[in-house]
Subunit: 432 residues, 2 copies
């Protein structure tokens, strides 16, 4: 049995009745309702869910999804969203500049706001992705000189981070910087300014702006290139004062499943910074691998019928191994995002947890078992003479119920507490 | 004909006679005696030349040379040294810590001082190589904890840079940082501290120390890994305030001659920093290539008889192409060091300009033709009524002679001037 003490905490809870007196010798149940660990997923479907099918399309991911049969059927959308919410506490929303503001000065802020408000109302932590990236950028930006491009990039960061503050306080500030100044598929405004300022110079500027716009934000640098170059880039950025507070690692495994050895090797080159690490874009495909000679996954495309029951089972096995290793053995990893919720999104790959016919795949059930059963805490206990109970469980938010009372049946607001590190010696008072 | 204006300068020279009056209408010759461009070579042989055969051995390079037949014969040593001095204005001396201070507190300072004084007396610019490197480091350093290792490393920099000031003002401060913290061939003190401080943190510290010890010094970072990682490392170091003022690129071409395309591609990733670039360790071998599966050249070894006349001719061709491209097309390149003067030094490779039997190879003659003929300026001219002449030529130091007078024949100190950028509007007075 793995040692999971780094994922757990202890607390003393004092249960107080409506009369303000401790509830002594009372049988109660404490039930975890949310993990501190961010079990996430792409939440792109929250956009059509809240705005209707004609929505902002950042980078292709929605377009394909919205072509799924029955996607305009409200009951199907409700069902898919409920399945999403039943598993995840954390979602990534698309802010690709190209889709967000195709015409200068006409950003789709309201659409994103609606999706974010919906997710937040369901207790979901949200990350915006990304604020600065050469791919999927707006063509109109190329009409300006480099000084103006930079200015508009920083204004864009200021606008989004400020307007979404309290709704979205977590951002992939800059994406794929290792390749950014040498990206040569097509001319774009961001490659131009990265070439002029240098990687570290640009990183510092975009993080400075993000931090200024929301001093309490969680700000990630994010990359798919996990070579020595990325490690050295982060080293240089941190040493030059860039306010990166979280390291983002992409793990699209379309060309081969990593396995434990590669997971550990990669992490050993990022854990030494001592910062939280997020697996920001994880993909394990229930389908054949993309050929190794394809260097840019954007050039890959899957057939619709690539998945088989055996491949779906393997996807579930591989996902379980990865989640287990990261959650159990790497305390600095604090988030994993499964990139595609549904099959047939990015690259039309069978990389989701739910099929195109809206049925759940083995991978969904496997993650649900880990997150909602094995790593989930529910305790039945009896308060002592002073109304106290001692709780040890996975970090996160808990509801307190009288035994026999089902969750959500009381008309009163739920009695809750948060179990987190360092709270052992305090007594948390909960009014039941 | 290549445009070499970036290597040239103009000046007005006023020739003044012994009586203090301008020498009008006088036929004189202006002859370049030294290039501003640093045409360099490993000057390891200056150590046995000045100290006798039993000398400090940094990293194997001397050991092998000193085994050459006849190497103890003074006349052979004189002949080899004269050939060295006839071609180069710049030499690298070995300061590998392992050879320089095998017993703590007993550095071979005097041996290096003798070699440096000799080279300086011949007008040679000297660079010390290297001050911080994981390879060839001293074993006794591993007896200390990391804090003490760092302290001793910085003290070592302070000691060498201060003691050799005015004799050696140019240093490879740190060598091969990209691989430094992940170097796993054997445990060593420098990898330990690089792991703890991070690459950028260590670079900043060693450069801070070097700069403090000699604020006017030329301080290089140097690497054989010329991938994106090194570019990002330099970017991070400069952005975090590391006082690197020159970029060092190694170009050991034992596994394939680069050619123009690769030279240009590599330079495009370093020229954008705007700093001077030195080719610090250039090797083109008159012998078969080292197999591509050998990742560390230290594992390679050449047979004595590997060279042939055809291979020697090809070495000369390839060297000429490279020197020509760097000198003609890349203004930021201000130095090229041919690593091995003699065949049979590092790796026993036929990579020198002079054979083991002390005869000159085609590569020597080819470089001599470029440096001392094609890129050399000698002008016959007549002063005007005011004793003025206008000179345009390759940047560097010049002697002024009355026509017909051979160089060095006058008992008076030579009349000289320096031709450099930005001096066009001044008048340089030369007393003849």
């Amino acid at each position: 049995m793995a040692d999971l003490s780094h994922r757990q905490a202890k607390a003393k809870i004092k249960i107080v009745g409506k009369d303000g007196k401790p509830l002594s010798n009372t049988k109660i149940t404490v039930n975890q309702t949310k993990h501190e660990f961010l079990f996430g997923c792409g939440a792109f479907e929250a956009l059509p869910y809240t705005n209707g099918p004609a929505v902002h399309n950042g980078n292709g991911s929605i377009t394909t999804s919205s072509k799924l049969a029955g996607y305009e059927d409200r009951s199907i959308m409700e069902d898919r969203m409920q399945k999403w919410l039943n598993l995840f506490n954390y979602g990534t929303l698309p802010f690709y500049w190209g889709g967000f503001e195709p015409e200068e000065g006409q950003p789709h802020t309201q659409q994103l706001m609606a999706a974010a408000q919906f997710l937040k109302s369901k207790g979901v932590t949200i990350k915006g992705h990304p604020l600065c990236w050469h791919t999927g950028c707006v063509p109109w930006l190329m009409n300006y000189d480099n000084k103006t491009i930079l200015q508009k990039q920083l204004q864009r960061i200021e606008r989004e981070v400020s307007q979404f503050k309290d709704l979205i306080d977590m951002w992939d500030v800059i994406n794929e910087v290792v390749i950014m100044p040498i990206y040569d598929k097509y001319d774009n405004a961001i490659t131009r300014i990265c070439k002029e300022l240098g990687r570290v110079g640009l990183v510092r500027k975009v993080f400075d702006q993000a931090y200024k716009s929301n001093p309490d934000g969680t700000f990630l640098i994010n990359d798919f290139n996990l070579s020595t170059s990325y490690e050295i880039l982060i080293d240089g950025c941190l040493n030059s004062g860039a306010q990166i507070n979280t390291i983002g690692l992409q793990s699209h495994q379309h060309q081969g499943v990593w396995g434990k050895e590669k997971q550990d090797e990669i992490l050993s080159r990022y854990e030494h910074f001592g910062l939280p690490i997020h697996f920001t874009e994880n993909t394990i495909v229930a389908g054949p691998l993309v050929a190794p000679e394809i260097t840019d996954l954007q050039d890959a495309h899957y057939e619709d019928d690539a998945a088989t029951p055996e491949l779906e089972e393997k996807q579930a096995d591989d996902l379980e191994q990865m989640y287990r290793n990261l959650f159990e053995n790497h305390p600095l990893v604090t988030a994993i995002t499964n990139w595609d919720f549904g099959d047939g999104a990015w690259l039309n790959a069978p990389s989701g947890l739910i099929r195109k016919d809206h049925t759940l795949k083995p991978a969904y059930h496997r993650l649900h078992k880990l997150i909602k059963e094995e790593w989930h805490t529910r305790l039945d206990c009896t308060t002592d003479a002073n109304g106290l109970i001692e709780v040890q469980g996975f970090k996160g938010t808990y509801e307190v119920l009288r035994q026999g009372e089902a969750a959500g049946t009381s008309s009163a607001p739920a009695a809750t507490f948060v179990l987190k590190a360092g709270g052992e010696d305090e007594i948390i008072e909960v009014n039941l």
